[in-house]
Structure formats: C-alpha cells, structure tokens
Symmetry: C2
C-alpha cells in the first residue's frame, strides 16, 4: 500500500526549480500540459422587488469593460468550495455564503489567453446585508436584474442560463426563499420571491396555505408595522422542521 505523509504542497507531482524564460519565472513543470482551474460564482440577491445577480466589470483585457461573475483561480491547497468562499469574501466581503456547485464549463476556447476550466457555483444571499465594493481586478461591481443582463464576458451567459435553470429547479426542494430574505419576513415577501423566480402569478391565499402546511415556517406572533396597510404577520424559517421534511423527501409544487 502506498503511503505518503508529506503535506500536500510538498507532494505535487511537479518539478520545482527556479529558472527564467522571457520575463517570467516558471517554477512548476509537468510532463503534460495542465489546464488552469478557476471558480465563478453566480450570486443571486433579492431587493424586495425582483431577483438580481451580482456582476463585476472587468478592468483588464480580455473582455475589458464587459461584465462577468466574481471568481478567480483555485489555489493548489484548497478545495473548489473553499476557493469560491475565498473569492466571494475577497470580492464582496461576505463570509460563509451558501454556495452550491452548478457545473464545470470546459469548452476549449472559452478563455482566449490559455486553457481554463471553470467550476461554477451559485449562491443566494440577502442583498440588504451587503455593501458593494469592487475588488482589485474589477472596475465596478453592481447588481443587475435578471431580466436585464448586460453583455457578459467569456461564456458567462451560458453559465447564467444554467444557474437560472438550476435555481428554478431547486425552488421545489430547497429553502431557497429563506436564504434571500431577512430572518423575519412576511408571507407576501416570500411569495414575491417565488413569483419572480418562476415568472408566474400565484394565488395569495393558496400560496400561504401551502407554505404553512409544509410546517417549516414559524409564525412569530409579531407584525411588520410601518407599511401602508394592515400590518402582516412575520415568519421565520424553522430549520429543524425543514431537516425532518427533507429526510422524508419534501415536495413543493406550484
């Protein structure tokens, strides 16, 4: 049996040597060409009106000026999940964002500079918790409505379509809405999320009943004041009840 107790950074199957070619140092050498691996995050947010995604404007070529998803190179000593967490934190300041793998995009020509395979993630977050700040490589960072996306760099339009499809599918199995809303929320806020993701109109009363029947909403006994009309009940997500549901296989059709 093969045994190796060296730390991973000493265990790479490459040859490390300092030498210079042209202007750059190329230390890490392999028998066969290796692709670069990046991670990209499709971050969905909700502002109370509609569904948005977070884009950064590229400050450098290629695709300078075009918009793209936040992301970057995966380090050799981290998993893809750690990489997307790090990149999102670096570019948005948010920690412990819930990010789920979306898929690998590996078209040979997808990056004109070199061979890059990207692992796409999608994440959901409360837009109100978040202060936008452009990172190092980015000229700007902004929210865009999913109905009005600017031209995207690389193959990011394809990644976006894939993300939206996944989000729609997951809506039926995952507590998608609760990740996008504040801890306390009203039933109609939750309904608005479902309506904007699915792009359909739902009956207010049936939606409420169906949601409550699932049993993973805690009525808080409080009401949201300050609105123009009758103060609505506030709810919170009941994670324990949801975990039970998931074991038995929850279904949630609309």
């Amino acid at each position: 049996m093969w045994i190796n107790k060296q730390p991973i950074y000493l265990r790479q199957n490459y040859t490390k040597k300092n030498f210079t070619m042209g202007n750059e140092e190329k230390k890490y050498c392999y028998k066969y060409p290796h692709p670069s691996v990046t991670v990209d995050g499709v971050v969905f947010g909700f502002d109370g009106v509609g569904l948005n995604i977070l884009l950064v404007q590229r400050g450098v070529e290629p695709y300078k000026g075009k918009w793209a998803f936040p992301g970057g190179f995966m380090h050799i000593d981290e998993t893809a999940e750690q990489a997307i967490q790090r990149e999102l934190e670096e570019e948005t300041g948010l920690k412990n964002t819930y990010a789920e793998q979306l898929g690998v995009f590996s078209e040979v020509d997808r990056d004109p500079r070199e061979r890059v395979v990207t692992i796409a993630f999608y994440a959901l977050l409360r837009q109100s918790d978040y202060q936008l700040s452009a990172g190092d490589d980015a000229a700007d960072a902004r929210w865009f409505s999913v109905d009005n996306i600017p031209p995207l760099a690389f193959d990011h339009d394809r990644i976006f379509r894939s993300a939206l499809e996944r989000l729609r599918r997951n809506l039926h199995f995952e507590p998608v809405g609760f990740r996008l809303l504040d801890e306390k929320f009203t039933m109609s806020q939750l309904q608005t999320i479902y309506e904007s993701i699915l792009g359909v109109h739902l009956d207010r009363r049936n939606f409420s009943r169906k949601m409550l029947a699932l049993g993973c909403l805690k009525p808080l006994g409080e009401r949201l004041t300050g609105g123009a009309h009758r103060a609505p009940e506030l709810y919170a997500f009941d994670k324990k009840a949801y975990d039970n549901l998931k074991k038995k296989g929850m279904k949630l059709e609309f």
Copy 2:
C-alpha cells in the same frame, strides 16, 4: 479587443522547453502550480433484476487491487464531456453514452500522488448491449449490484453516494428508465427499474396508468412471447412527446 486566432495547443500560457530533471522530461512549466484534472464515470446498468454499477480493478498503486470508477486524465484539447466519452469508449467500447455532470470532487488529499481535481459524471446504459473488457490500467472490469459494492479507491465511495442520490432525484424528471432498458420493453420491466432505484414497492396497476398518462410511451401493438405466462404488451419511448412534456415542466411523483 483581444484577438487570437492561434489553435488552442499553441495558445497555452505555459513555457515549453525540453529539459530533463531526474528521469522524467518536464516540458510544461507554469508560474503557479496547476492541479491535474481527471474525469470519472459512474456507469449505471440494469440487468433485468437490479441496478448495477461498472467498476474496474486497479492494477497499479495507489489502491492497487481496489475497485474504482472508469476514468482518466482530461486532455488539454478536449472538454470534460469529450474526455468522459473518450475514457468510457477506451475502457468499455461504448460510444455516445449519455453522460451527465455529477459534480467536482476536489479535496486536497483525495489522491496521495499529486493534486487531482476530478469531474464526476454519471451515465446510464443498457447492460445487455455491452461486452466487458478491462482496459490498459485495469486488472479487471465488472458489474456490481448497488447493494453490494466492494471497497473503493480514492474518494470514490463518496462519489458513488452522490451519484445514487442524483439518480434518485432525476428519476422524477428525466426518462431514466428508457436509457437502461432495450428499445422495446414491457411495463413491468420499467416498473422494476423504478422500484430498484427508489427501493420501494409500487402498485402494478397504478404505475401503468400513471406512466401511460404521461404520454411518452408508445404502445407497439406487439407482445413479448417466450415468457412463462401471458405475453405482455411492448412499449417504446416517445422522445418527441417527452420533449414537449419537458418544456411545460413534467412532474412524476411516486
């Protein structure tokens, strides 16, 4: 705008030079360490009794003698999808297998030799169409019942659990059964697939009605003779009808 019309193999961002270190030639050099990228295929088959997966026995260290999923290194000039097609063809002889991305497994320690990120796929095929033949690196290739899996190499047990979960979930949305069965099949064969994937018993009459109600089964007007009892009707999968269904969002609960 950045323009580059060179073929991809001339466009890698590496430095290529022949030089020797130790015994091996290391031609491809990078400024930062790059992971190796592999593809692995979880291939499900059905033999009329139960659900099986295809494993190859490793002929070399590490994990020599352990079983693993067929797979191998992604080439620099192919997509992950092309790589898994090629590997499956090389190791099983099958062309144009329907393979879907399962996810990326990128634990830092998952391969003791070097840093390897793997893209896992899952595939469904008709076991009867297939003649087993071990590939170059493999000592043996065999079908195993999903209920009786031997110890697996690397993190392949984790990949396997992920694949089974995905298969169960996809069963409700995708024409899973039809990929596992012959072109012509009986209703009870189809039912057996559903029962063995979900691990439950289903009512024969309700299953038939529900399936036919979907409208993507063509009754062929032929019957399967040679059985011990009444000859059952044969059906075929109606791809056109299924594609229509999918647009409207099919649901199939059991």
